[in-house]
């Protein structure tokens, strides 16, 4: 019973390399292609009719749009809407990655820390570069909050800088660890079912208990998949708000 084996990166087409780097298609990259195709198919198909009164599929696309737009506007203000395509893409990618990982025998793209770290570092770099580009050095006023007594201001500034620098760490690990832990737990209980069922007739009755636990865990994982996609997007919007409106 090895719960880690499911996260192994397998090479699908072991032929491509570019110089010294191996860029062959892995199962992770294949699933990312699948995610892109599915998200594009959903939205291009749903909005192709462009009806004024939306049908069912177009309503789905419009509701998702409204949901992400509300998240962006409420945390980053109306100026935040210039980041809306990026935030929307991020939300749909993470959501579909999390949900597709729940299909049995599939691979969860966001359970690889390199994927979530890339997304989180991208958000961090966008925040820093956009903040410095738009506001110049006034962006660094983010680390000097108002209304703090002068005596402890140096300490507070250091703490603020450190907490800003750990943002990509917590941002990426939150999504990665949630997906990893969920799938490991599912695999462990699946192992229990197999082990109990192997004990003979009595084992089959006992094996129903871990199986019921798998069902409950799967429901929890469904909630966590959607919730973590939303949390990733919400935190992205909050960090972007720091770039658009620096200073407390």
């Amino acid at each position: 019973m090895d719960p880690i084996h499911q996260f192994e990166i397998k090479n699908m087409l072991p032929m491509m390399s570019m110089g010294r780097h191996d860029i062959s298609l892995t199962n992770s990259a294949l699933y990312m292609f699948v995610i892109v195709v599915l998200v594009s198919a959903l939205f291009i198909g749903a909005t192709s009719r462009r009806a004024v009164i939306p049908g069912r599929l177009q309503s789905v696309a419009e509701m998702v749009y409204e949901f992400v737009a509300y998240t962006v506007k409420s945390s980053a203000g109306n100026e935040g809407m210039k980041f809306f395509p990026f935030v929307f893409t991020l939300f749909m990618f993470v959501l579909f990655a999390n949900l597709i990982g729940l299909i049995p025998y599939s691979f969860t793209v966001t359970s690889q820390v390199i994927v979530t770290a890339t997304l989180a570092v991208t958000v961090f770099l966008i925040v820093v570069i956009y903040g410095l580009w738009t506001h110049g050095l006034h962006f660094l006023g983010l680390f000097v909050p108002k209304g703090v007594p002068k005596l402890i201001l140096p300490l507070v500034t250091v703490i603020e800088v450190l907490s800003f620098l750990t943002r990509p760490v917590s941002h990426s690990i939150r999504l990665f660890a949630n997906m990893l832990a969920g799938h490991i737990a599912l695999q462990i209980f699946a192992g229990f079912v197999i082990m109990l069922a192997g004990l003979g007739a009595v084992g089959w009755f006992a094996a129903v208990l871990p199986f019921a636990m798998i069902v409950a865990l799967f429901a929890l994982e469904l909630l966590v998949a959607v919730l973590q996609a939303f949390i990733f997007t919400l935190l992205t919007c909050i960090y972007l708000n720091d770039a658009i409106h620096p200073g407390h």
């Binding site: 880690i4 917590s170 660890a177 949630n178 990893l180 832990a181 973590q228 949390i231 919400l234």
Partner: protein, 80 residues
């Protein structure tokens, strides 16, 4: 005891100790939901408006418990 067996034993003990951190996260999640339930019983009409805050708070607190689980996994499966 040779060095490799000692390291392996220490890894397993460390992984077990790391899991104690999830107790704090459990208390935190309980606090969030307890306050939501208490608040929504006092003011039921305002409960639906705070549902989003509930979910955000739960996700952020649960993440900390899962960070400690990740430390345990790191010890078990990453370090030699």
């Amino acid at each position: 005891m040779d060095a490799i067996a000692l390291t392996t034993a220490a890894k397993y003990i460390g992984a077990g100790i790391a899991c104690i951190g999830m107790g704090g996260a459990g208390i935190g999640v309980g606090l969030i939901f307890a306050n939501y339930i208490a608040g929504s019983l006092r003011n039921p009409s305002a409960a639906q408006g705070q549902y989003l805050n509930l979910m955000v708070g739960f996700a952020i607190v649960e993440a900390l418990g899962i960070f400690s689980f990740v430390v345990a996994l790191l010890l078990l499966f990453y370090f030699k």
